[in-house]
Each structure stands twice: as structure tokens, then as C-alpha cells.
Symmetry: D2
């Protein structure tokens, strides 16, 4: 961290800041410029809160130098890490596609979707039992009954499954049924929940909050990693901007940025990221071209009857076309599908 | 809801949409314009999901007409509602000021802050025991010990207290200690938590998420109201924008907008809303001038030693000045302090 | 346009709105719902300003039905339009790559860059003579001297050139030298300038403003088209969001959205869109995969000596690699490079 | 500026950066931390472009220390500067209110508005002759005829006038008629226009772009100041955010921030800043409470007939009420109206 003193800061103010830095076990390094004195903080003493320093007399502001995430950073772990689920390896040469309906509505619906996505080549079945919805009057998911349906379908179809967990006390239940625990965008800052899945060893797909920076996504991953679970998959699913034509703005550049900053695998959700089924295929292609390790896509046998997010769901035949059209893009970037 | 058909939609496509509307028990009202057919949905049948309709063939988009919140809306409840806490009435003629440290650090610290804010005229003591922090390595609050300190100080100072609750299973514990439960900005979309505080009868201060629209804030309030708790206080605390000089952009216009849309009382948090203590006083004045029912402000006896958010905390003497300077503004808008 | 009346609007208020609509030569179509009366406006009378209607007594709000752009819309012109420049066709099967330095610094610099990008397969040479810079103390470009250098290099290298025009009175001068006139992101709302290039017949590359919606981009194109110039190429170059790791957030989803809404060709600028050279290649691939008609990329022989935007410029050898790596992506989406 | 080297940067890479800094006439100051080497740049040599340094091998990023504006900064000019227009002083104890219609439509309309706002106590008459409009099909203003109407009304009513100038070649014409030149939000980045008004000595009201940071606003002011015109008034008029209930989000916190950073006077536009007439009064009060030096407000005799922005215009009687209600707020913050 660097401390920038105000223009004309007195020598007492400067020495007070230096004293505070040294109290914490770090050392202070002064640069006296023409217009400002700058103090570098060096060493591994007790962490200093930048806001405390900023409240000291004569201080203009502080500038962080090191990134605040450690376990998630590529500096800490230079090679790509992979997450293994049954036969699947997420983060390796092969791209992984997770597909299925937004919400589990019935065994017939999930089964139909599952057979279709498996036939088209998907590797993981998605489906929500606990649905966080903006309105208390909207369908909130089938809950535990949905999990049981999912388990039945998994046995029949033989695909690993991913489903969302929405509260810390649901983690044990959902872990019994799911191969991958999903943390939704609205819960990326739900630290009690991050803590709970961090204590599990089950792989976690962590979605970027619609209001969260890339650094905050990595700090949320750090919560999970620092509680002992190293099986974290990141997911870009669109951020909120002033543009209203799409539901969110899918930040494809987050893919190469994350590849620079972290060793964790990254998948992209073009369904929630755009909110429109017609945009799913071009954005899925863009994600793969930019280096994503996989995709998570909504597929519903009859989207016009879906109980949630029908407008962004693909029909099975369009999903099959998408998988066929993705293969040459995968090949063009040296991956397989 | 209105359904806008695509240019050149066929009569079969139009009659399919009409049939779907009528199936749900509503009636459909066609307007055939020069370039588009528009279908109005009238009546109180089962709610139709706009995304289902948007997935039907020939449909371009849908347009909502009614706002999705009911219990929170001023149409439903034209008069201002008030929330009573011990002697305080929030939402009446008198402005309510909640003040205290961001985090409870010790009995000495909280006691010193409490005496200072009471003397300056604050009505409620704030202090966090469970702190949601971006970094897993930052101070996370004293937890239950903090609640006990808060209860001790309350007894000594005789001010009602507000503190944050961060997980559904903590609601019973926090309710034992706090007069007002705070839902933080990061948890505005934590529906399990909203559900849990909705089943309590304890007053709830609900903070707007930093990237949540005013409508989403009201939908979060609707969760609490629809689970039976009508004691909801809304709180504007700044939204995330592209501007980086302030930590957030405090959306003062949310105050008069909320006064139009809802009957619930509204307080403003100029400390988190700006992130800088020097901006707290002007923004507190602006909030009152714009019609807010109260303020929630961070005060710390020694901000340069604070374990969280020291940079935005006022010292006790500055808080006393602020209270003195707010009084004439309150009077200018017909309120008392 | 649809007019939504307030709950409880009186019959006089409703008939006043109807009268105003009919005065303008349109007809009004009433839908009386349980909670609101809605009035549809039908016909081709004189255009009604929605703000005038919204100011009428009893009106809650208005909802636009038709998009405000006409000449730019795909409904008006269903087939893709193409822009021809010397041998190049922009918007056809072949992808077009424009490359070169951000600013023209000298004949040696531009010549070196031009030879490199031509050899790597670029189709158009870019280079700025008039540079809009945030600071009045930054290098503002060589101006007319830069244009003369560009003309010399074009003659030598035989590539068409694109350069920015920044003020209406510079349009005749820049038109003498450039094959494509560029309107920069900061000038997308400079209507006097759009008017001036609209009266030229020279192809125009119109960059999306960093604060502009897709609809506003198309309205800016409409200015140029409506003044008689149909040779408009749209350019996505990143929008401003809360994310600060990248300079802007390159909105790749704008590509398929624009392909739905308009017949105009679309190119993407991954250099300004990210601000970091290391992100240029993955985002260039993403743009092509999503359906862009071309790219505009900064290449500088020695970026560490560039007078502007060195951090986002590719070195010639990296640009050559990029072109080689783009070819299979182009092929995978049925295009050639 | 500070240069942060990558983890593990070699001593050659470090000495190359030092050499580059010294070449420019500055000196370099090294801090070798546990994980990073940091290089401070000290002195007044030729300015170094941060992007050039960032392109050097081994450099992770640069951090600016000094703010890029000088003439506009409070450090350069610690006392408030004032702008004098006829009898008015903008930036002194008295608050200045500019009011009138968005667009000049006729002599009758402007005259009626002018008499009303003068009677209510406004100090300056506003009215647009050149209107930048999003759509080429919207009313673009009366142009020079509008300026002549404004001059006639000014003579009759005896109020100074403010009107917008939209292109560099219009500056001489508009200067003949107007007491204050307005630069609209869409032109804040139109550097040719800023240059042109900078060469005039006429006072300029510079509106913040709807997606411009406070620092960029000050850099735009710096363009005007550095071309010799010191009569600059800043104007906050709302920024673009994700919130759609208001047209823009009026950033009231920009007022105290600007008061810290600059000596220039600041006015607020609550009409464009909200887009809704019902929000104008509370936001005008908030602006004054936060420390603004004045307001610019739209008033139209018959807003439901206005040719532009009718929805945000006040009727004369509401404007008179607003002026009466502002007086006690002004007094509460030690100002007069």
C-alpha cells in the first residue's frame, strides 16, 4: 500500500503516519516529490486497514499495490487448476457444457430435457429446485421435491447434475443430491453461504454478481477457498449496465481477464447473460472463442410453458444445432467439445 | 401487461396469443395499428409470466403496465405508514437519526460512541456485530459477543439499538438483542433472509442493494411485508456507478421517488453512500431537504483506529455539529429533529 | 405509443387525452382494465411528443411501441447492406480488418506500421491526425500534416485509409484525404458533425459512444442516413460500466443485437474496448465468433514509444499472429478473412 | 506517477524503466518490497505517458498521484472564484437561479415564461435556440431566429440570458446574443467546441456529460481555462446509471466533491437531472442544502404544449412556489436567494 500525503502535509503528520506503519510491524519508505510526499508500506506486519490510514491527519488517500486475493491468484498457483466431476474435467482441454431447464417443474419435464441435452452432447444436467425470484409472488421452485426428481433423472440418464443452493442451512441437503453446488449471482456476496459451501468438498460453481467487479468475484472465491474447498468454478453471467436491450451485459472480456488473474476454471452463461434465446448461440460462440472452459445453457422442451425464464431458454433442436456449431469454434481455439 | 406482436404477425399467431391469455382466465383486447398489432391483457386471472408469452411465435415483446409490488405501494395504502420503536416514531413529523460505529469493537468503544451520539441528540444507536466484509481476511465482527456488549450499553444509555442480521438462522438470536433488524445492501436479494425477518414482527431497516433499482428495493420490501411483517423502513445508501471519486453514488432522488411510490418510511445513509467523512454533512443536509424521514450515520470515537470503515466515520464533535446544522434544514422543510 | 392513465383517472381526463390524440390526426383506442385505462395511439398523424402527453392531467406514463429509427432498421431494409471502399466490401462474406497506429506520428512510423499490417493481411490502414484527448496537455495529433503523411503512405502502400474527423468544418479537408471518415465515440452525439458527414457521400465508420445505448447508436446512424449518406458502418468499442479492470466493457452482445435490429455492417474495436493489448486477441476472436463484419485494431511498431494509447497497441508480430489465429474462427462461422 | 513492476521483474527490466524516466528529465525512486518493486517518478521533466510505461517489459501497471487538472484545481487557486454577469455574481453568497423554457418556441412563449420567472425571483433567463436532439426527426430549435427572439425578450424584461452553443462555428453568433454560453452534456467532450468557447471571454456554463466522471468534467473545464477563458461555471445535470425510474441519476454528491477539488462555481439542473417535474422541487432543495451556488430550471407556460422536454418543465405558479420554498433552505445554509 502507498500513502499519498496532502500537498503541504507537515513533518509531524508525516511522522505520525510512519509511526503508525511501524507499530504494525511494517516499514515505511518515504519519497518526497515536488508536490507530494508519498509513503510506501513494506513488509508483512499485521494488515493495515487503508481506511484507518486515510482518517489520519494530512493523508490525502491510499493506493493498494497488491491484489487482495491470494489463494485464487495465478501468482500463488501459476498452473490452471481443474475440477473433476465423475468423468468430467472442468478446466482441461475439453470444453464442458451444462444444460437443462431453469427450474425443475416435473419429472416428465426434467427427463425430457435431460435426454435431449445428453443426446446433443451436454456433459452436466442443470435444473433449479430452489429459485431466488425477484417477486414473492413468482414460482419459487419445487424445493426438496425438485431435488428428488433430479436424483431420479440422474440415475436414469447418467449425467452429473448441478443445482443452486440458496441458504447455509440447505447446504447439507443439496450436497446429498447434487454433483455441483451453484451459488447464484444474487448470493455472490452472501458470506454465510460462501462459508458453508467452503466447508463442503463438493465442487462449487460461483456466479459473478450482476453488480460485482472481477476482483469482488475473486474475493468471493477466496472465501470458499480459504474455508478449505479448492473445487471452485467461476461463472460470468452478465453485469448490470445502462443498456436495456439485453437483460444484462455479458462481459466476455471477463474471460481473458480471469485467465490472467486466476488459475480457476471459467464458464459462461449466455442464457442469463442476455435474457434472449436468439442471442444465446452467438454469445456461446464468443465465450468459447475468448477462452472459456465451458458453458451453462438453459434448455426447455417447451419454453413457452416454462415456469421461469422461458424467454431465454433454447428448444432442444436449437440446442443440438448450437452444439454442432460450437465444435468448429472449439477446434479453432485448440479445444475439444 | 401489453403484448406487442411482430410486424407482419399472422392471424394464427395472434389468435394463439389470445387463446393463451383467455386460458389463464384473463381477457384479451386487440388494437390493430398500421405497423403492429397490440394485445392488452385485462382481468385478474392467474398471473401470466411475460417470458412465456415472449417465447410464443409472432410476439416481439411484452410491456408491463402495473407495478409488481402491491403491499408496498402507495396505491394500496395511500397514507404514510409509521414504524414505532420504543418512544420513536419513524415516518412522522420528527426526523430520526441513528448513529454509532460501523462495528462494535469493545464495550468501551461502543459506550463512548453511544454517550456521544445520545448527547448530540441521536434517537437510535447503531453498531454491527455480524459484519459482511468483501475479504475473508478482514475483521468479521464480534458476533454474539458484540450483541451482548450492545445489550449492556443499551441498558446503560437507554437508546434503542439497530444491528445487522446476515443469515436466516441468526434472526432469532439478533431479535433477542436488537430493536431494529438491519438487512444490509449485500443481502437485499437474500430471499431466505427476507423471508425470515418477514416472519418476525421486529422492525426491519432494509438497505437498497448497491446495484438494485428502486423497484427491486420495493420488491424486497414486498417479501418482508408478504410474510407478515409490516414494520419496514427503507434505506437509500448509494448505488454503484462509473464514478469512482465517491465509494458509491448516493441517489438522493430515490427519496422523493419512494415517497411517490410507497407509504413506507425512508432513511438515508450518507456514510456508506459516500465513503468519505467530509461528504457526510452536506449529503445528510441534502437528504433531509429532499424529504427523508431520517438518517443513519457512522460515528466513531477514534476513526483512525476503527476496525472497519474508519474513513467514513465522523468524530463525536463533528457529529454534534452536524446535528446542530441539520436542525434549521429540518425546520425549513416543516420537520423537527 | 400507448398512454397509461393513473388509477382513478376521471372520464374528463381520459377524454382530454383522446381529444389531443385526435387533434394530431391519429386515432385513440381505449382499453379499460380493472386498475388502469390504457389508450393506444393509432395512425400516421403528426408525431406526438410523449413528454407533452405525460404532462397532461391524469396521465401516469407513456410506452413507446415502434422503435424510433427507420432508415437504419432491418424492417425498413431486410437485407444486409454493404459498404464498398476501393476493392473492399464491408458487410459481405469476407471479414475486413482495419489496422494501424492510434495516432500518426511521422512518415517513418506510419509507413512501418502500414507495411506490417498490409503484409499480415489487413485491408484498411487506420491512423489519427486529429486526436480528441481528455487532457488539453496531451498530444492532439499532427492535424493536416498527419493527413498529408497518410496520403503519402497510402500511395506507397496501396491500402485504403480511415481517419477521424472531429468538427463539421474539417469534413471537406478530411474527405479529400480519407477513404473512410471515422466519427469517434466522444462525437457520437455531435449532431452538427453527423449532419456534416451525412451530406458527404464518403463512407462513415460511426463509433458507439461509451455512454450510449444501442438504440442511441442507431439514432446517430439515422442522422447520417437521413442527410443522404447511406454508407454507414457501425462500430462497437466498449461501454462505460462499474468494472475498472478493463478501460471499457466491450459489449460483444451488441453485435448480434445490431444484426437483429439493423441492416448496417458492424465492426468491433477490441483495442479501445479493452485498453490492454493482451486482451485484444481473445476479444477479436469473440467478436468474429459473434458475427461481426470486421475489426479495427491498433498496431504500432514500438508501442512503448507511442504518443497515444501505447498500452493497447499490438506489435507487428503479434498482429500477424492474431491474423493467423483469426482465420480458423472466421471459417468456423462461414466467413473468410 | 508510480510504476508497479510485476512480481519477479528482472533487474534489467527495472533499470530500463529507470532509464526511461531519467531520459525524460525526471528522477526515479525505487522501493523494493517483499513482493513487488515500486518506482516513484519525481520531478518536473517532460510529461511521461502512463501507457508508454505500461507497455515496457516487466511493468504491471502505473498509478497516477497528481490529479491531471491544474488551472481548475483548488490547490492552484484556493479561494472560490466568481463569475460576474451584469449585476449577478455566481459563486458568491447569493444563490443564482436560471429559469425558462427548454426551447424557444415563439416570442409570446418566451416572453410569458420570462415575465413569470422574473416575477418569481429568477436571476437569469434560459432558453434554447440550437437543440441537440437524439432523433433527427425531433424539433431542432429555431436557430438564429430563436436568438433574435431571445434578444428582444431580454431587452423587454431586463434579465441576462443563457443559451446553448452546439458547434465551434456558431460561437461568434451565439456570443453576440447571449450573456452565458451553455455547453450541453452531449458536447462536454467536444474539444473543438471547448477550444472555441475558451477563446471567447464570455462566461460558459459547462454541463457534466451524462457518463462523465467528475475528473473528466474538470478536464473539460481545463480545456476552456487553458485557452484563456476563466469564466467557467460547472453544472451537474445527472448521470446515466442502471436506474430507469428517473431519466438520469442526479449526482448531488458531485456538489461537495467539486467544492473540495475546484474553485469554480457549481450549479445544478434538477429538471434534466430527473426528467420529471414532480421531482424538481425536492432535488432543487437538496442541491442548495448540499452547497450548490445556483440552479438551472425549466419553466414553461404550458408544459403540455412544449416542443421539447415538457414532462420535466414546471408551470409558472409551481416555480413561484419553489422559489418561496427554497428561501428558508438557503438561509439554513447561510446563503441568500
Amino acid at each position: 500500500m502507498i500513502v499519498v500525503m496532502k500537498q503541504g502535509a507537515s513533518s509531524t503528520q508525516i511522522s505520525n503516519v510512519v509511526a503508525r506503519i511501524e507499530q504494525s510491524g511494517c516499514s515505511a519508505h518515504l519519497s518526497e516529490g515536488e508536490e507530494r510526499t508519498i509513503i510506501g508500506i513494506i513488509g508483512n506486519g499485521r494488515p493495515l486497514d487503508h481506511e484507518q490510514i486515510e482518517r489520519m491527519s494530512g493523508v490525502e488517500r491510499t493506493v493498494p499495490i497488491l491484489r487482495p486475493f491470494k489463494l485464487a491468484s495465478r501468482e500463488f498457483h501459476p498452473h490452471n487448476s481443474v475440477v473433476k466431476i465423475n468423468g468430467c474435467v472442468i478446466g482441461g482441454e475439453q470444453l464442458i457444457v451444462m444444460a437443462g431447464p431453469c427450474a425443475i417443474e416435473s419429472k416428465a419435464q426434467l427427463g425430457e430435457a435431460a435426454r435431449a441435452v445428453k443426446e446433443a452432447g451436454a456433459h452436466v444436467l442443470r435444473g433449479g429446485a430452489f429459485k431466488p425470484r425477484t417477486s414473492p409472488y413468482s414460482f419459487q421452485g419445487l424445493g426438496e421435491e425438485g431435488l428428488r426428481i433430479m436424483a431420479d433423472v440422474r440415475q436414469e440418464i447418467d449425467l452429473p447434475v448441478i443445482t443452486e443452493v440458496t441458504a447455509p442451512d440447505l447446504v447439507p441437503l443439496v450436497t446429498t443430491f447434487a454433483n455441483i453446488l451453484q451459488i447464484g449471482a444474487r448470493n455472490m456476496h452472501n458470506y454465510a453461504l460462501l462459508h458453508a459451501v467452503g466447508e463442503s468438498q463438493r465442487p462449487v460453481l460461483l456466479k459473478r454478481g450482476m453488480m460485482s467487479t472481477i476482483e469482488e468475484l475473486l474475493m468471493a472465491a477466496e472465501y470458499i477457498l480459504s474455508h478449505g474447498n479448492s473445487n471452485v468454478i467461476l461463472c460470468e453471467r452478465g453485469i448490470r449496465t445502462f443498456e436495456t436491450y439485453t437483460r444484462n451485459t455479458l462481459d466476455i472480456s471477463a474471460v481473458p481477464v480471469l485467465k490472467e488473474l486466476t488459475h480457476l476454471p471459467i464458464v459462461v452463461d449466455p442464457s442469463h447473460g442476455t435474457g434472449k434465446w436468439s442471442l444465446v448461440e452467438p454469445m456461446a460462440k464468443a465465450a468459447i472463442a475468448a477462452g472459456a472452459d465451458g458453458l451453462i445453457i438453459e434448455v426447455h422442451p417447451r419454453p413457452e410453458e416454462a415456469l421461469s425464464d422461458g424467454g431465454q431458454s433454447l428448444k432442444p433442436d436449437r440446442f443440438a444445432d448450437l452444439m454442432a456449431n460450437l465444435a468448429p469454434i472449439a477446434q479453432a481455439v485448440g479445444r475439444t467439445l
